[in-house]
Symmetry: C2
Subunit: 515 residues, 2 copies
């Protein structure tokens, strides 16, 4: 299977239908095919050889979508740069991957000189934005290059050929490149198509950053069915709602914080979002109160949760719309991450690798065609996490009697206090119920008596007041003694987060532990 | 991807739901997993090594379904024997494939001695039917063997590993073994799941013979989604209708002759077929009158056509339910074979391999993950039909402006008369409209003046009368002169047909051409 195939098919079956819609206009499938083939020609004329990495540093745009497919069409490998990274992280990624060509959006032109200086493998930089007076001198212009280049034939890489490198794991140590093949992504697309009911009639809004797979993998899925890609640069409530109304969006993917922002948004009722039939979410757990609010606000929209990680292309389980309920025989399943997707073996194992009985917590492992090929040039690290074909996710959880996966915690975030396991998320869930708490994180800190002690770091809501003792007492009312925080630090500002909004517990732990 | 994965997944997610229903009872997914693992143990205890072929000669039965998956689970390769073959064809297939183990249904026990004698590779024969007094002496009994054998671990063959050999092409020369991999079948299943809307709630009736892929491929599809397999031994109208009512069947696949029989069946209204939502058909063209009759009879059932061949695992295009109409913007598309399935490149080429413009007839070629690995031990023959990844189907047809494939004829059935192409099916369609014609075939026969002359072979309906001249005049009213039969042979009995009801034109041509 090959990820460019959907373009050929859509150009043959739906030549005049929109492939790509944005504030810049509409591109039909037959035009999209042409533009991708020309951009691939540009990459080849810049010296791209089969398997070479082509990088993108930009907010979402129509060009980001074209970049994905042109990199593959030219015979190359997709490399996306997290826009929130510091310069050192950007250069690490480009150097580690030895990227030859870089495309840069208007918001990141200030980075170009530094990147060129510190990334010797870079041979060409393309200014990938609408041409404007701000265009940096000496860069190739995207539209001009397309206009001046003849379309080339699809390189037809496929199957186990490397399709992309996604850098991840920056929460601890240096980011590593996750190697994903054409087959990896097609396995994921198969599940997205089946469970999201996507088709050539779907109009999918890409609002999550395309440098991350939660958003990026949908590019492959929508292209495979010949649906329509709708793109906006980044999330804010008005742009998002306006795009749904304007493009008649039928499906999209969000992270929980986006949904929270939407529900709080004062003018949410000013938009016609009646076209939206499916809202999928993932990347971090959805608080139940937020889910209830969203379902009440959008009673006609189906919600679907995906769980996975970049190393799983990225989805391993899905909680289907029918399990988004609070009553009846399926009540309680909304607290799970759903069931195995097609072709996914899911197992929960103990430290020795032995399968745990139903209901017993262990490490979640996944096997199947969605498991990455490995970490780029890190065979030892790969062997640590992929053993006998099983990806060891580092997540703790258990399976119920019908294969619903209930996640407890990241294993490395689990605290062992006096020999008892404490799941940090369980404690956080209780803290979140306190009316003064805006955000919080539970970590283990060294303790002479207990080995680890439970420590809470809390940010209060604006103008809210709560004492350390009050928060501990609040926890005592629900949790076992060993689960309650022994200490609470109330801080101002916000907790440190990764690009997709995950709280960086490693950062929080750092001051307490020897390096 | 691996074809046994769906069993593990269904046993985890839907352990108590029915995997297999038949007149013999209900087998749950957790039981099915156990039975398959035990039957695989039987095969291994009989000496099966990875990649060895295990053969089945039987009408459809629950054991046929278990055989498919146990052969794979044990690490073997599925080999099905066409029940309609003569002894020489059966032995050719078993010997060519060097099958080690053979399972035989009750209807074929008379063959066993001959097969043992003529197939030296056969080491074991299992009597695969409900135990009864007719069980031949010296054979392993299926249920006893299962009861006496411990379940073994899934061999986990996957991806490009060979999954099955399907012998085909008996219409000309000896049948050849089509090599199909796990990935081949999963590519097909993906399309069946998406376009047929199959899920764990589907109950699919397997009535088409499981030795043929039109029926057999659905075993993989239903298992992948964890739906329910319903099985009856073979088709007759009452058994079929009874099974739909009894098992609450939601989907099935038929060939046109079955549908014809159903519509003519006097007691069709005595059955409750309200559970049936989808009827897929294929293997040979559906006459429009029959389609109209079926749609009028079953207004609530969606119809879906598949086109392909064994070498394509087996589907390349589908005509979706929405195109089964006779009015509106899609009128006329019902005469096509539909559009490319996901991941399928479809092209129409001339003799030199050059792509034909839209609307121009050429040979239909297909590329993608559904294309077979090749013909078993026939690399030269494989090279003739699979070139640069493109399977050359031998079918003539054209594509319209939205990729709908209109089939004209088998290329070898096309007649060239006085330099003009005559498509035999076009002439047959006209003849079928004559009220006296029950069945007919158009072939080319040697002609000194025109190279080939159009010759019709016709079977009349019971008690109907028509002369050669009358039939030729009937054709003249619609067809060009060069398309009309020059001669007509009216014969009694029926035209020679293959196992799936295709008329064997090679047989009909034989008397006219030098061998």
């Amino acid at each position: 299977m090959r990820l460019t195939q959907g373009i050929h098919r859509a150009a043959q079956l739906y030549p005049k239908r929109p492939a790509l819609v944005s504030a810049e206009g509409i591109v039909s499938w037959i035009e999209f095919e042409q533009r991708v083939a020309r951009l691939a020609g540009v990459f080849q004329s810049l010296g791209l050889q089969p398997g070479d990495r082509v990088a993108m540093l930009s907010h979402n745009s129509p060009r980001y979508v074209e970049f994905y497919f042109a990199a593959l069409w030219a015979g190359g490998v997709i490399l996306t740069i997290n826009t929130r990274w510091a310069m050192a992280e950007k250069t690490h990624c480009l150097n580690d991957a030895q990227a030859k060509i870089l495309l840069v959006g208007a918001a990141f032109t200030d980075d170009i000189e530094d990147l060129k200086e510190h990334c010797p493998s870079l041979q060409s930089v393309i200014y990938a934005d609408t041409t404007s007076a701000t265009m940096a001198a000496g860069l190739l212009d995207y539209e001009q290059a397309l206009a001046n280049t003849a379309p080339v034939a699809d390189a037809n890489r496929s199957g186990e050929d490397l399709a992309a490198l996604f850098y991840t794991g920056g929460t601890t140590g240096k980011a590593k490149g996750v190697m994903l093949s054409h087959n990896n992504f097609m396995a994921n697309s198969m599940n997205a198509i089946v469970n999201l009911g996507l088709s050539s009639d779907s109009i999918h809004l890409h609002v999550s950053p395309l440098f991350h797979l939660a958003g990026g993998s949908r590019l492959f899925t929508l292209t495979a069915v010949g649906g329509t890609h709708a793109v906006i640069p980044s999330f804010n409530a008005d742009n998002f709602l306006d795009a749904i109304e304007r493009f008649r969006v039928t499906a999209t993917v969000v992270v929980p914080t986006m949904l929270n922002t939407l529900l709080q948004h004062p003018t949410i009722n000013d938009y016609d979002v009646s076209s939206l039939r499916l809202l999928t979410y993932g990347a971090s757990p959805m608080p139940e109160a937020l889910m209830r609010g969203a379902m009440a606000k959008f009673p006609d929209i189906a919600f679907l949760q995906s769980y996975g990680m970049t190393e799983l292309s990225p989805v391993a389980t899905m909680l289907l719309p029918k399990y988004h309920c609070f009553e009846g025989p399926n009540a309680g399943r909304i607290r799970s991450a759903g069931q195995a997707v097609l072709n996914a073996d899911i197992a929960v194992v103990d430290e020795t690798g032995k399968a745990q009985p139903q209901g017993v917590v262990g490490e979640v492992c996944v096997r199947g065609p969605m498991v990455m090929q490995g970490y780029w040039r890190q065979p030892e690290l790969t062997k640590q996490v992929v053993r006998d074909g099983w990806m060891h996710t580092g997540d703790a959880g258990y399976l119920d009697e019908e294969g619903f996966l209930f996640l407890s915690d990241r294993i490395k975030d689990m605290i062992i206090s006096g020999g008892e396991n404490v799941y940090s998320t369980a404690v956080e869930n209780v803290l979140y119920r306190h009316e003064a708490v805006l955000e919080c994180a539970i970590i283990g800190i060294p303790d002479e008596k207990w080995g680890e002690a439970v420590h809470a770091i809390v940010v209060l809501k604006e103008a809210a007041i709560a004492t350390e003792q009050e928060l501990i007492s609040h926890c005592r009312a629900t949790l076992a003694g060993y689960e309650c925080p022994k200490t609470v630090a109330i801080i101002s500002g916000e907790l440190p987060k990764s690009g997709v909004g995950k709280i960086l517990k490693a950062e929080l732990r750092k001051p307490f532990w020897p390096q």
